[in-house]
Symmetry: C2
Subunit: 171 residues, 2 copies
Amino acid sequence: MGRVSQAQAQENRKRIVDTAARLFRERGVAAVSVADVMAAVGLTHGGFYKQFASKEALVAEAVGKAFDDMGGMLAGVARADYLNWYLSPEHRDGPGAGCPAAGFSGDVAHEGPGAAADAYAHGIEVYADWLGSVTDVATLVGAVVLARATAGTPISDRILAETRAKLLSEE
Amino acid sequence: MGRVSQAQAQENRKRIVDTAARLFRERGVAAVSVADVMAAVGLTHGGFYKQFASKEALVAEAVGKAFDDMGGMLAGVARADYLNWYLSPEHRDGPGAGCPAAGFSGDVAHEGPGAAADAYAHGIEVYADWLGSVTDVATLVGAVVLARATAGTPISDRILAETRAKLLSEE
DNA sequence: TGTACATCAGTGAACGCGCGTTCACTGATGTAC
DNA sequence: TGTACATCAGTGAACGCGCGTTCACTGATGTAC
């Protein structure tokens, strides 16, 4: 394949970021290679560096995009509905389209300062403002992170159900 | 160096597990190689497979050991003292000797079922029994995970302080 | 509008590198007599 | 208690592999006239 139109190139770039945002949350940044992302989009890995400076730069963009998408979702939903979705088995089992605060928590903490950490911290502030409490953010993120790490054992469902009951009773 | 006494070999094995439990929590499992662990203990990497079947087996033992150590700590401490330590900047900044539920959350969630996930789930149950509430476990773990991922920004300290205030007021 | 040419997004082979793991070897330890 | 020998924890070079990244090349796109 030769050169591609600017519109097509821009669309390819967007699809790379969206796909990375999904795969990184599903499997973790370290377990997803640049070639994995490009193959999932339908391109070969060589062209990646025509669009991005490095894998690290893609991670930062993917974190930012995931939080932007979450922000859009928050705008049109009621708090109780959001809590029910957030603490559902569906959200636990589908991290790829789920909360970036939970999905990227491990990777951002271990990667140290940088563009990804900045995007993450900004996303958490937006999130805390919407929920009205940083403690509620911690409880939600902790519940989903723990439910995922214990998935397949009885305590996983208990964590989700009891956290849901507690937060909804505080309304 | 030639053969080593059985007592020495057993002590080396313990030091490998302890060192791995610390390094894995500090940097994440993927960022710590078998050679890193062995070098930190003062051995060469080749001997590792005389003691362990694979890196995966070491991860599982390290998770188990970290939760055992935490269990020992819980036995002799008051709830309020524990909450104060758990939600301190010191705990946020020192994951190597910190809570394994927080330190291993990302790695266990992405690695899927296995011995490490079993040890993790069992540790969470012990932890929830001691705290008396799975929701409190979620709040503690979520607060530290978020505080680490946002370390260096103002919201990190806020998460710890507000979560501490809230949990202590519920006593 | 048509033509000639420069641009550059995407291709696919190749790079150096570090990983998990293996293996022939060493020599002090443990054991049989 | 001594001696001879088998064991095996640790050594360090080597293995195949996949990673992030680079690069010469392709050929449709975009542009100058």
